[in-house]
Amino acid sequence: MRASCLLAAALTTSLMGGSAIAQTIYPIDRAEILEGSRFDFKVEFPNAPTSADVSVTINGKPAAEVLGRPTNFIQSEEGQKHSALWLRGASLPAGRYVVEATQGGNKAVVNWDVFATAQPRRAKNVILFIGDGMTVANRTAARILSKGWKEGKYDGELAMDDMSNMALISTSGTDSIVTDSANAAHAYTTGHKSCVNALGVYCAKNALTLDHPKVETIAEVVKRKTGMAVGVVTNSEIEDATPASMVAHTRRRSDFNDIVEMFYAVKPDVIMGGGSPNFLSKMTPGSKRTDEQDFIAKFKEAGYTLATSKTEMNAAVSGGTKKLLGLYNTGNIDGAFDLRLAKKGTISKFPDQPDVVEQTKAAIEMLKGNPEGFLLMVESARIDKYSHSLDWERSVFDTIMLDNAVKVAKDFAGERNDTLIIVVPDHSHPMSIIGTYDDSRPGQLLRDKLGVYNESLPPNYGPLDAEGYPTDVNTSRRLAVVYGSYPDTCDTGRPAMDGERVPAVKGPDGKTNIANEKDCSGPLAARKTGNLPFDANSGVHAADDVILTAMGPGAEKFRGHKPNTFVFRVMTEALALGGQ
């Protein structure tokens, strides 16, 4: 079952450059394009001119001549008030290109940098870890919780901190300062900037979400050009934006049923996450498909082993499986806080889910035997989702989980010097550590319990378990972690042991979100007037830059400040994916 047509974000299709007065060229200005990678070339002309009224040149020659194939001109595309020139699936040799679209007296110009990748190939394997929404405070809190703190120093380093290279990454999309996880991940997997909600496409004027100009993903390039294996691992629904960015081409990230088909088209060797209902025929109770395609059966026919639990996953690995479809939950896989401490969420329905660390181990085990190497994306997805819920303990537990998965990869990479490991968030949240709440401080209010500066004594969390998670965080002295964006809400200053925090609920007018009173009655609960628009029911992303760390061949290119698209460039250069 699924909603047939609705999308939460406003989808104005022509925010950037597509105004009624100028021609718009895709790929856009300053695009960096992998040599030989496929892209859809599109120029939109306002006011629906005829082909005789326009001309398009690349480096001064007709576009069709440079691209080697005829272009297709559509007057009044889709009945809209523009005309379009298309060439789908174009590619170019390395070089600098100046594209000019002329319409009457108006000329639009964009520049492309089509880059080559040097031989010989430097990395056999690339492992890209994405901490969705992982903010600097996530790392700091994860270090405090899992490594300990004494006299201003930590008792250990995170695996993701102890890497040879680091860069500051900016994450904005083409249309907005603050990105979402779709076009943020798209930047890593395609090297192109795009707009909020988009995956593997530029955001043109097309009416249908699957018709926008496409760009090739790194997984597609790898599958088309090499014998490498590909893995996509997450603890969100597998159709969610970050994992989908490896295979998807849609203007709307919520096209889950289409995204399942796109996974099937690309066929990554290892696919693991939640979100099974979009794989089931609509004839099956629990399906969210609107057609009768049974993707469980299709993947099995294509040689995949199916795993629906951790036990089945491990059995498949021991049995020598090299192609695995692992679907462990109908929705998102439960996070580390619920898997370990609170046992809430969907633990009772799905008692045998693997966590991201176990998934990473299994994935590497299945992929590492490929003589041509592998490309693996691993996402810890709920760092972000829990920060939306202002549930920092859950967000930080999933940061520790990501770090343990990075440790698994580092142990694999060892001294091989053939595996590039990148750890990077896709965007940030406005999250900070401002001190500690100490129940023994005098006073009745949460702010009375807050120790700042010299009074921010270290927390007294329970001892660490074998994997470095504190065994108790509901203690008398706790980190004070605050979010800079929130709806009307109540802050309890304590972990939400009875399930993921719900910061706000719909008010009586059915539109405005108001504080969730369940959190407002505790002894210290602090009522906060929201600072977000009234229709927001949770925290929002921040435009703040994020920290990337990396090691292995190619990692040395990460330094200083880079746009998120640079991550694609480093990966493709390390794998020498350029060339016709």
Binding site: R2, A3, C5, E237, G331
Partner: protein, 155 residues
């Protein structure tokens, strides 16, 4: 088959509509022998590869039932159907993203086109229980469990 849908400006979360008018003729008041079912008892198994309806739900197929749930934000102010959810959607963790409905929804097809109440209101629905995959001819909405010929009242 590839389905392509036009972009919609309508937002699910933002859709808010007026008060119920048509629930005045509430079958709940008259159907004393109607069996009550609950979200908790709909399925006997709930797994990654699909659900199995409980024996009781299977036995009540085609019979009049009553079920309490929350009205999801309606697709239109007046409609012949709405989605009933276990929890109000605004506080459903599955629904924090813009992606989709929860998996265990019940779709309610009204006797008549009916003005909907505000999203997230608790309602009691009465009508005939149907199970099995069905696709609404008008909207293409696929459902596995439905209450048809239905009426509702605020709970």
């Amino acid at each position: 088959m590839r389905r392509q849908r036009p972009l919609a400006n309508l937002t699910r979360r933002g859709a808010v509509f007026g008060l119920a008018a048509a629930s005045l003729f509430d079958r709940a008041a008259t159907a004393a022998d109607t069996e009550t079912i609950a979200f908790d008892g709909l399925y006997k198994s709930f797994g990654v590869l699909g659900f199995e309806f409980s024996d009781r739900v299977t036995a009540l197929r085609g019979k009049d039932v009553r079920i309490v749930g929350y009205m999801a934000p309606p697709l239109k102010p007046e409609s012949h159907f709405f989605v009933l959810t276990r929890e109000p959607l605004a506080i459903c963790p599955f629904c924090q993203s813009d992606a989709d409905w929860p998996v265990d929804i019940v779709v309610v097809f009204m006797q008549n086109e009916t003005a909907m109440v505000s999203a997230g209101r608790k309602v009691v629905v009465t009508g005939r229980l149907e199970i099995g995959s069905a696709t609404d001819a008008e909207t293409g909405f696929v459902s596995q469990i439905r209450v048809t010929h239905a009426a509702f009242a605020l709970a």
